[in-house]
Symmetry: C2
Subunit: 202 residues, 2 copies
DNA sequence: CTGAACTTTCAGAAATTACTGAAATTACCG
DNA sequence: CGGTAATTTCAGTAATTTCTGAAAGTTCAG
C-alpha cells in the first residue's frame, strides 16, 4: 500500500469496516481512497495506491457505482475512466440510506406483505403472522417517515437535528397554539407498549 | 427445516437478509424463529426447527445475546435455557440502532478523532485530513441527534414520525411565535452545499 | 462425591467469498 | 479496417467464514 500515513490509517479502517457492512475489504478501501483524494483517479492510480490487482479494482469500482457512491468522468484527449467520490457528506449520507433501504428494507417489506396476504394454515402460523404484521407496521412507518424527511433541504434538516429532542417540545407548542388541528383525531396514540398482548400461542 | 409454511418463508428470508447484515445465515434464522414464536424456546427446539447442529445454535444464540436481541430465561424445575425475542418492535428497533452505533459508528468516530489530532506530513494528507474533518462533523451531528431522539418516549416519537416532513413547518411556526429565541444566533446555517470548496489538492 | 442433563469450546471439514492473471471485449485513433 | 490503449469477464486459486461432531465444561439432584 502506497499512501501517506494519515491516509493509510483511514483507508485501512474503511477496509475493516467495509466487512461489517455489505461490502468487502477492497471495496471499502477503494471508496476511502477516492473519498480523500483531491482529484479524480484512474483505476490504475488506485491499483498503485492499494497494491491490489487491476481486475479487483475494476470489480470494486463497479460495485461502488451500483451504490451510487462514485461518479465516473472523462477528460478530453484521455481515454481513461476517472473516478471520484461526491464531496457533499450530506448527499453521501442520503445516498447510503437510500441504497440500504432499497437493498435491505424493501425486499423485507415485500416478503412481509406477501405473507400477510396468505391465510395461516396452523395456529403457529397465525401467531407468526400477527408478529409479522407488527414488524410490517413498524418498518412501513419508519420508511414513510424517512421518505418525508428526504424531501427536506439539508439546511432545514440540519436545523431540526440541531434542535434534537427539543423538537418534542415544539410538538406541545403546536398543540397549544393550534389547538389540536390535526388530520387525525387526538385520542391516545397506540404504541407498541400499549398494544394488546397477543396471548399465549398454541 | 421443520416449520409451517408462512413461518418457513419468514425464517428463510431472515437467513438471506442476515448476510447483508453483519450476521450469518444461521444467526438470522435463529432470530426469526424466536421472533415469531409465541413462547420461549430451548436450544434444542431451535435445532429441531432449523435442522442445524446444536453447537451452531449455541454460537448463534451467543451472538444474538451480544446484540441484546434475545433474552434468556429459566423455568423452575427445568435446567434448560429458554430464549425469547422481546416483543416490542420499537424497542427492537432502538436496540438494533444502538448496537450498530456501537459497532459501526463509534470505532470510526474514534479513528477520525485520532487522525484529526495528528499533523499532516504531506499536502495529500492535509487534504485527506480536511475530508476526514467533514466526515467527522457529519457523523457526530447525526450521532448526537440520535442520542437525543432516543430519550423520547415511543409515543412522542410516533407522533413526530406521523407528522413526517410537516415537522419542518413547525420549525417556521416556532420562529414566528417565539421570534428567534434560539440558543444560537440565526445567521444562515452552514450546509455542506455552501461550505467553501477545498480547492484543488496537490 | 457421582452421574445425568445440559451448554460451550474448539479443531478440522465444508462452504462461501474474494482475488488474481489471462483472455476477451470495447472504444477510439489514424 | 488494423492497431493500441483501455476495461471487463472469468475460471481457477487463495483466503475467509461457517458449520459440525467430539470433547470438555458446568450445574445440580441424590
Amino acid at each position: 500500500m502506497n499512501l501517506p500515513p494519515l491516509s493509510q490509517a483511514f483507508v485501512l479502517h474503511f477496509g475493516e469496516m467495509g466487512s461489517r457492512w455489505g461490502v468487502n475489504r477492497t471495496v471499502g478501501q477503494i471508496y476511502a481512497v477516492l473519498y480523500i483524494s483531491s482529484q479524480a483517479l484512474t483505476a490504475d492510480d488506485i491499483v498503485e495506491r492499494l497494491g491490489v490487482s487491476r481486475s479487483n479494482v475494476s470489480m470494486g469500482l463497479k460495485e461502488l457505482q451500483s451504490w451510487r457512491l462514485v461518479r465516473l468522468e472523462h477528460r478530453p484527449g484521455d481515454r481513461r475512466d476517472y473516478f471520484s467520490a461526491p464531496e457533499d457528506v450530506w448527499q453521501i449520507f442520503r445516498t447510503l440510506a437510500e441504497e440500504r433501504q432499497r437493498r435491505e428494507v424493501d425486499p423485507t417489506l415485500s416478503m412481509l406483505r406477501d405473507a400477510l396476504l396468505e391465510s395461516a394454515g396452523s395456529p403457529e402460523d397465525a401467531y407468526a403472522q400477527e408478529r409479522m404484521r407488527r414488524m410490517h407496521e413498524l418498518i412501513e412507518q419508519i420508511t414513510e417517515w424517512f421518505a418525508e424527511v428526504r424531501k427536506l433541504s439539508p439546511e432545514v434538516l440540519q436545523s431540526l437535528m440541531g434542535l434534537g429532542a427539543k423538537v418534542a417540545r415544539l410538538l406541545e407548542l403546536k398543540e397549544r397554539v393550534l389547538g389540536g388541528g390535526r388530520k387525525e383525531p387526538p385520542p391516545a396514540i397506540a404504541t407498541s407498549d400499549t398494544d394488546p398482548p397477543l396471548g399465549p400461542g398454541p
